[in-house]
Amino acid sequence: MPLRPPTKFWLPKAGNRTDEYEDASRALYPQRIGTSGRGLARVAVTDGASDAAFAREWANVLVDAFVSRTPDLDGLSPESLSGWLEPAQDEWHDQVPWDRIPWHGEAKARAGAFATLLGLTIGASSPRTNRFSWQAMAIGDCCLFIVRDDRLQVSFPLEAHAEFDNNPALVCSNPTSVEGLWEEVRQDSGECVAGDLIIVATDAIAAWFLAQNAIEKKPWETLAELQSSVWDDWVAEQRREGLMRNDDTTVVIIEVS
């Protein structure tokens, strides 16, 4: 099995309950990694904007949509992006209990929920080689990192800690509010080989990763060694020491072997 099953870690913002966690992640692996379509491994992470209503629902709808009916990243266009988003927006709309929303939530619900999104597909470069090709799309500040030979090879779409702020580009659940979205879409692709480490992360841990990398601390070593039994304590310690922003924190790690 050259592409190991992903390891997923997540933790809500300190002070929030588990049911208030508004990041979401999904990974879907086929039985056998192929070159296209349903043969692709698919990973998605998102960060629902805490300033919006029903953000948790939207975050989950978005990552489900990416892994279950992955958009064609080769031919992504403003029209195909809108067409891909529409069923997800409908689903979010169906999940909102419109007739029970209190007055304070009405305007926000009408405006829609917002979330960042990073979607990644990994497929075999050709049926007979051990090389993989990957494609990624991003809206906002969830990041993809690929580490090879103990060096950070790919940092997408952001490359430095200083690029993170509280105003990332966001996908809206309201179809009337996607004007300008296409200009915010970032795409990248490349190959990965045995020994590579693929890391997909939401903003708080992605920013931590890039800050650590900037001071040559090799953050991938820390992540690769993490066990689920110590994850919560480890994140809490980074937050306490001011190294990681107190925010919902999510990371998916894939080893290519």
Binding site: A55, P102, N167, A169, S177, N246
Partner: protein
């Protein structure tokens, strides 16, 4: 850097409103014969608190990102100061409730309003509006005593929340105190704070003069030529840099040194500049 603390339930923010309910507030608002200042004051409070509630709403429930308090000030027939803490179960020296409880205390009224239908047309729809305060105007203007009481409440609050974003005191008045010079009290309040900065005082000045509305001036000379306007300007804090930057990015008429002072103008937009996590309002539309 000050004024950068994250506003969260562990370290909530704080709004304290002081509302002038003196007799002069029954006079019409400058340039608007059909609207009394007392209605303008109640409306300002209800709208700002509505905006705060909406910022904290997750849809079905409200997260306690803020403590809020409302103190009205006037005098009785004998001229004795009357301070009233409006939220249920509170007192002027302990005026605060978490925003989720303040939300429950609102009386909700439905009004029909005209809105864009998103396709270039206008539709009339029914919308809900929360009301915490009814208009009232009788008696004198003990603004100094109100500020003095606010100082005690804010002192307690900052002691209990040393790592929070500093409290914001919003004073809604026509500006003419009847119990002394409120400026010295305002200066004292601006001297207390949290580890993240000192209390910010914002003044919504409602005047019967028909001078042009003023928003967020940088100099006293930009306020209307009137001693009470000049005093209210001096009693208003300059916006911290992060607020100025957010406000400018959102298209508000602010520049370096702008103060939290409006004259016969709206202050609701202030609520949008506070960071409470990943922001949706300035995201893609």
């Amino acid at each position: 850097m000050p004024y950068t603390a994250d506003i969260s339930r562990a370290n909530p923010g704080c709004f304290l409103f002081l509302i002038d309910q003196s007799g002069s507030m029954a006079e019409p608002l400058g340039g608007q014969n059909d609207l009394a200042k007392m209605n303008g004051a109640a409306d300002a409070l209800n709208r700002i608190l509505d905006a705060i509630s909406q910022r904290c709403s997750q849809g079905m429930d409200v997260r306690d990102y803020f403590d809020v308090g409302i103190i009205t000030y006037t005098t009785d027939m004998e001229g004795n100061t009357e301070l009233d803490s409006v939220l249920p179960g509170t007192r002027p020296d302990h005026p605060f409730l978490p925003i989720s409880q303040a939300v429950d205390a609102a009386e909700v009224v439905e009004r029909s309003v005209k809105e864009s239908d998103g396709a270039g047309g206008i539709v009339e729809v029914s919308r809900k509006f929360p009301v915490w305060l009814q208009a009232r105007a009788l008696g004198g203007t003990p603004m100094c005593e109100a500020l003095s009481e606010a100082m005690k409440a804010l002192g307690d609050w900052t002691n209990q929340h040393p790592d929070s974003y500093p409290p914001m005191l919003i004073n809604v008045s026509d500006g003419d105190a009847t119990d002394g010079d409120p400026e010295s009290f305002a200066k004292l309040i601006m001297g207390i704070g949290t580890n993240d900065g000192n209390v910010l005082i914002y003044n919504a000045h409602l005047s019967s003069m028909s001078a042009l509305p003023v928003q967020y001036p940088t100099q006293e000379s930009e306020a209307p030529e009137d001693e009470s306007a000049a005093r209210m300007f001096r009693m208003s804090s300059a916006f911290p840099d992060p607020v100025t930057q957010q406000a400018a990015a959102m298209g508000l008429p602010v520049s370096e040194g702008s103060r939290g002072y409006v004259y016969n103008a709206d202050m609701v937009a202030l609520v949008q500049f506070l960071d409470i996590g990943t922001r949706a309002a300035t995201g893609l539309h």
